[in-house]
């Protein structure tokens, strides 16, 4: 039955072609972003330094309170949960190891990335999307200004710097949360807890965490920018794309986390 086969292929084609186009668009955006961020500065087209600084303030500095609060609470929760098990085997001091390692290797980077996805990823999509809807992106192109260099690169630089920085901060506060709980509720001696943490933490743990944070920064920027540039219609679509960017960047952050964690497990 030729018509059924035709329909089947037609259906596959209609589903697959837009997806292929999306992949192509995303690949072009990634390519352009990296070109304008890392290659063109050597060809005399400098990065917009002041814009990068102001993006850093927006994405980094303003996230400090929320990152601090959440990390502190998660540190406390983690100490409580591990004490619940360790108490039984009389190994309460190992709370320090558990808190230190799981925060630096995993929870610090991922919590920070999720907070930044919600705050900055959505802001990127909304900003670029509304500029696209108001022909501002077309105006930039018509002035001979590349919109990726003008809009995306400063955001990329900001997140590549600020996400690791916020992660270090989150690590410190998280460990401090565990410390606070342990020296009060668990009655561990502060000095012992401190010593135990130092002994448990390897430079490797902290560095792999920071590498992940760096990659998450790239992912969040690209997803936000991609969704923003996709906007064609008006304000309603900007809202839709903003939501989509948060969902997609949290999802991709976790996928990348899985990938990196597996990689580090086998190769470090």
């Amino acid at each position: 039955m030729p018509s059924t086969t035709e329909n089947l292929f037609g259906l596959i084609g209609r589903r697959a072609i837009p997806i292929l186009k999306d992949i192509n668009d995303a690949a072009r955006l990634i390519n352009n972003t990296f070109y304008w961020a890392f290659l063109s500065p050597f060809k005399g087209k400098a990065i917009r330094f002041r814009a990068s600084m102001s993006e850093m303030v927006k994405a980094g500095y303003s996230s400090v309170p929320i990152v601090a609060t959440i990390s502190l609470f998660v540190g406390i929760i983690l100490a409580l949960q591990s004490a619940y098990q360790l108490k039984r085997v009389g190994a309460l001091i190992y709370v320090a190891n558990l808190v230190g390692v799981s925060i630096t290797r995993e929870l610090g980077p991922i919590l920070t990335a999720i907070i930044v996805s919600g705050r900055s990823g959505s802001a990127f999509a909304a900003e670029i999307g509304s500029m696209k809807a108001a022909e501002e992106v077309d105006a930039l192109i018509s002035m001979g200004i590349n919109p990726v260099r003008f809009l995306v690169v400063p955001k990329l630089i900001a997140l590549m710097v600020m996400l690791p920085a916020l992660t270090v901060f989150s690590d410190l506060i998280g460990i401090f949360g565990g410390f606070l709980l342990s020296i009060t509720a668990l009655e561990i001696h502060p000095y012992n807890y401190f010593q135990q943490t130092i002994r448990a933490l390897l430079i490797k743990d902290i560095l792999t965490g920071l590498m992940k944070a760096w990659a998450f920064g790239v992912v969040i920027t690209i997803v936000g920018a991609y969704q923003g540039f996709k906007v064609e219609g008006g304000a309603e679509e900007v809202g839709m794309r903003t939501t989509a960017s948060v969902v997609a960047s949290i999802f991709l952050v976790i996928v990348f986390d899985l990938f990196f964690t597996t990689l580090f497990y086998y190769f470090t």
């Binding site: 509304s130 022909e135 501002e136 105006a139 930039l140 018509s142 002035m143 001979g144 590349n146």
Partner: protein, 261 residues
């Protein structure tokens, strides 16, 4: 007649829909050319191709003799530095003040000192009658002021070629006339090549040296204002005399359309 822009056999699509159907036209340099036509006939689409924002399905667009449809981005940016565009909605960057908007192309494309840039910006703002609004944000301006600020930005690098998409749409008659006067001044004082897309007739008769008329994706007229007035093409007469399109349905057809089959 020296040609600033020449379009040869341009065909464009949005998806599967053909918008411009194999059009050819040329735009004289140092003059004001008005592109006329009803709503939805493809004027903005043509303009977006002329500034290289969209790539055509087929055809050539020569600007000063060079085909922009086959240019690489870097070459195209060089061409764009020598042209200015005023978009339908002005398209000022909302996150920047008026003076930062006007300074933007200067900052991006030259290495002038900050004090020089400030002077240039003030000159442009003065030219469009916006002195004293340097530190206003676009959201604090009226529609007409935004258009004028957009014009100041389009002129920032003293382009040879300037495009206007519906400069007077949505403005009161006085402000619109002011903008028309400014366009005349640009041609006479700065010898720019000006391309204006519009469907405001009073404006056309005031500013045009040369008129191109589009209808449903085709060029149906190109020539001077006098030739336009003398034309006996029924579509053109309809447009000039502001007559509505005739009711073309029979009652049975109309019933079929609203019944939906």
């Amino acid at each position: 007649m020296e040609k600033a822009i020449e379009v040869i056999g341009l065909v464009t699509h949005y998806g599967d829909r053909e918008i411009l159907k194999n059009i050819s036209l040329s735009i004289p340099s140092g003059k004001t050319t008005v592109i006329l036509g009803g709503s939805g006939c493809g004027k903005s689409t043509l303009l977006k191709h002329l500034i290289g924002l969209l790539k055509p399905t087929r055809g050539k667009i020569l600007i000063n003799g060079k085909d922009i449809t086959v240019m690489k981005d870097e070459e195209l940016d060089e061409v764009r530095k020598r042209m200015g565009v005023l978009f339908q909605g002005a398209a000022l960057l909302n996150s920047m003040t008026v003076s930062e908007n006007v300074a933007l192309p200067i900052r991006e494309h030259t290495r002038l000192k900050e004090s020089t840039i400030q002077i240039m910006v003030r000159m442009k703002l003065d030219l469009v009658g916006l002195s004293g609004f340097d530190n206003f944000y676009p959201s604090q301006l009226s529609g007409g002021m935004k258009k004028r600020a957009g014009l100041a930005r389009a002129m920032a690098l003293d382009p040879e070629l300037i495009f206007f998409d519906e400069p007077s749409a949505g403005l009161d008659p006085v402000t619109a006339a002011g903008l028309d006067e400014l366009i005349l001044k640009l041609r006479d004082v700065f010898k720019m090549t000006i391309v204006v897309v519009t469907h405001e007739l009073p404006s056309v008769f005031m500013i045009a040296d040369y008129v191109i008329m589009l209808d449903m994706g085709d060029v149906i007229f190109s020539g001077t204002l006098d030739e336009l007035r003398a034309s006996d093409n029924p579509r053109i007469r309809m447009f000039l005399e502001r007559r509505p399109e005739k009711e073309t349905y029979s009652p049975e057809d109309y019933f079929r359309i609203i019944a939906g089959d």
